[in-house]
Point group: C2
Chain length 321, copies 2
């Protein structure tokens, strides 16, 4: 038996699991929320206690790690976290290898989730796929020739900052109309709030009435999920914003299909709950954007929130070979 | 000695060369223009006579072929030519292998040129690069992990039909604002002609005066090259159109850098003669479009018109191993 330890440092969430290599069933599995004032040290402390309770003194044969932020996968060094302080240049792989005396692999969450979906989920049996996560951010991970493709410096997969509308709203990255600016949950919520704040409530054809109701008129409570719910309930403003998000993702996916011609696009994250209309627009726009002779499928992720953990298992299996 | 026969079916041009494997010097080299009423049969006839004059009875050990149109590289079957009739589903590899009794490799010109630049040109020593040809069309070829990446069905590299301005002019492919629609020679010429035709010549601030002069007022003579020349000579309209072309290419390259993170972009085709301003805008816009932490270089192709022939040599070398 080869015992694998899989870790997921998710920014706001921490998860760990153990499994025997080759098995499809967790031996142990635990999730924790990261405290609001978390830093790298507290995250590592919490993770250590989770690991101890899972391993109960056993020694793993290999460790795989998904990290929610840029990682140099060749050295296993975390570059930084956009959510948690103190992760700058932490040599996470070395740290774990020394602590447990076994080999470890560390990569960013999108690459690891791509690996997880490829080995255990919606990408099984496909040589090439692009995994896209759409939730608080928009990121992606590549499988080409059945192997992760990380780019020359580990930066590949950034579909979130592909410009799809040069006249669109300004993104945090400084450009206009990035996929992430149009399709991520927080930005959709922000745009909806902006309209609701600036539009007189006694407008002749009021927009966003259902949205207002859903949050009891407290606009701060609007999230991407609320926008999806309001759209499903028929809210015109929410539908408009969600249409724009699905259009942006569709253009992005069609462009990527033309460029790399992967067999499959696997979509995970909050977008999976965005409703049928969203998926239909996304599929149609992607199809229209790609050349007619470029074939591809767009499917939802199969592993949900566990994709990074399953990918971590694959990563650990790979460092053993 | 291993004798390589390299062929380039370029649409309007045919070229062939012989070389000893491992050498950097052609043994024989010949170029012909394809007749205006060419079809697949006449192209093959001309190529046969060129080959005979090059080989002088010697037998090559392997054949590499660059074809100007979509090819299924796994079978070596040409799908079609957009320039020459009769190329639909021609099994070019089989045909050559039977005729010469040696192994052959066939791929489309962008992929082959990428291979040529990687093995012999501006991509030597780089693990990952994207070769982009910008002339009558805009196409691209990938080298990833030092190997060609052709996509799941050989369709990868189509940066020409990446949408960079959804409000831009309509492309032949049906979409708006594709890179090719904004940056290819014929489209630039078309847009310039359109402005010159619709603008009264006795305008207060006339545009395109230098353009008109260059073609003796015969607007049909305007080409992408003429636009570049007029821009270099200070023509305001030509500069405007060329700026838009370099902007479109820059956005496309920046998007690709974010997505795949290759080390180098190698640009070939007519664009190499587009002038310093063009290259400066292209570099700046690509840099602005890519995320700050995504590094890359954009360099001109080193092999010029011979890139497909050199790539064909590499392809032939590869079928021998």
């Amino acid at each position: 038996m080869t015992l694998i330890l899989a870790l997921d440092f998710g920014g706001t969430k921490l998860a760990a699991a153990t499994i025997n290599a080759g098995s499809k069933q967790w031996l142990g599995y635990e999730r924790r929320l990261s405290p609001t004032n978390a830093n790298a040290d507290t995250d590592l402390e919490i993770m250590r206690s989770v690991i101890n309770s899972l391993l109960k003194g056993a020694k793993p044969d290999a460790i795989g790690v998904s990290f929610g932020g840029p990682v140099d996968a060749t050295t296993g060094k975390v570059r930084l976290s956009h959510h948690v302080l103190g992760w700058e240049n932490v040599p996470l792989r070395n740290l774990l290898e020394e602590e447990f005396g076994v080999p470890a692999g560390v990569d960013n969450d999108a690459n690891v989730a791509a690996l997880g979906e490829h080995r255990f989920g919606a990408g099984q049996g496909y040589d090439s796929l692009f995994y896209i996560t759409v939730s608080t951010g928009v990121g992606g991970g590549w499988i080409l020739n059945s192997q992760p493709w990380r780019g020359s410096e580990g930066m590949a997969g950034e579909i979130g900052h592909m410009v799809v509308d040069p006249n669109g709203p300004v993104c945090l990255c400084g450009k206009r109309g990035c996929v992430e600016r149009l399709a991520s949950g927080p930005y959709m919520a922000q745009d909806v709030r902006e309209v609701l704040r600036n539009e007189p409530q006694r407008h002749r054809e009021p927009r966003g009435e259902i949205l207002r109701e859903l949050v009891g008129d407290n606009l701060e409570l609007i999230t991407g999920k609320v926008v999806s719910e309001a759209a499903a309930a028929g809210d015109n403003l929410a539908q408009e914003i969600l249409y724009r998000a699905s259009w942006a993702l569709g253009v992005g996916i069609g462009n990527v299909a033309n460029l790399i011609n992967p067999q499959r696009f696997v979509l995970g994250g909050g977008v999976m709950k965005a409703g049928e209309d969203f998926w239909e627009v996304l599929q149609r726009v992607a199809r229209e954007t790609a050349l007619p002779e470029v074939n591809f499928e767009i499917v939802p992720a199969a592993l949900g929130d566990d994709a990074p953990l399953w990918g971590a298992v694959a990563l650990a299996e790979d460092v053993l070979h």
